[in-house]
Point group: C2
Chain length 197, copies 2
Amino acid sequence: MSGGAGPGGATPEIRIAYPSWVRTRVAWTDVYPGDDERMQLAIALARWNVLEATGGPFGAAVFERASGRLVAVGINLVVPLGNSSLHAEMVAFMMAQARVGSYTLGGKGMPEHELATSCEPCAMCLGATLWSGVRRVICGATRDDALGLEFDEGPVFDASYAYLAERGVEVERGVRRAEAAEVLALYRRRAGVIYNA
Amino acid sequence: MSGGAGPGGATPEIRIAYPSWVRTRVAWTDVYPGDDERMQLAIALARWNVLEATGGPFGAAVFERASGRLVAVGINLVVPLGNSSLHAEMVAFMMAQARVGSYTLGGKGMPEHELATSCEPCAMCLGATLWSGVRRVICGATRDDALGLEFDEGPVFDASYAYLAERGVEVERGVRRAEAAEVLALYRRRAGVIYNA
């Protein structure tokens, strides 16, 4: 085994970039005033990711809560980038933090941020939400919708949501649920890899 | 807002690389036969990260379970890389998957992998463990040790560990606990940023 850098070496560099359609398809300069518009973008990202075959059927976006300004988007990149942690929410948080230049979206003097995600977060993403600094999360499809299509969501309990609430993170569930769940079904029909099965 | 790539643009690229000491200090070609040796490396990584001031007081490593071959290491890089998801375990999983060239460490035909982590995983890392494909986790310091030093661990419950066990992931806790907890205390004495507080 080599101790060197570079492919095959012990100290590789991880690079996470969007597929090219993200730059052109996303309306970066639009304002997304409410839950409906924010969720529509998260769902559109999930659908585009399926149709472009660039990852799993999940999309997310980070907004400035009051202004509706779009800060970052995320899509599931697990299979194309060979990285089981790259769920849509994780990518959205990483990209948002890169844009604001901080490890938190909840720093002093910052506007409040919120996350829209096309499906209720798995255990990893729920934990990551707490560390990200967002103050609010809106979710589309439910855990049951995901489980029904054989996506495991991990150890998430009512107590998990209560834990977030106690720390000042609001969660709104079931926003445009049917439309969000339809993207999961679309992916299933196309027989995508269920990487968490 | 620009839709362009590059710093400040809407589509940045995330790069995750180790600080330079990781390449030289880690005994990459050693074999780590048992829990003690594996945990000693995880704790050493945590301590080096504090002493080099390159992140939080947490270290982790992924091994081939049977052979004791070291596949990847991880250290907390939250503050230096401005990314709240870069806990030691996450970095170890990402680097290990980059090395094996797959989004899972539990693929068919692969040797079994396990994670050693200097502290019990937070909610995010516990979820990530499930998706990573490792079959076993050994932990040093406990959740209580972390909480006592004001590191939040998020919504992790007994049921969370049971969930992993049901899916065939073994967890061994309290390996070299005192030595692992001492690194947390060392960091606290040096008044490091508690980014999850």
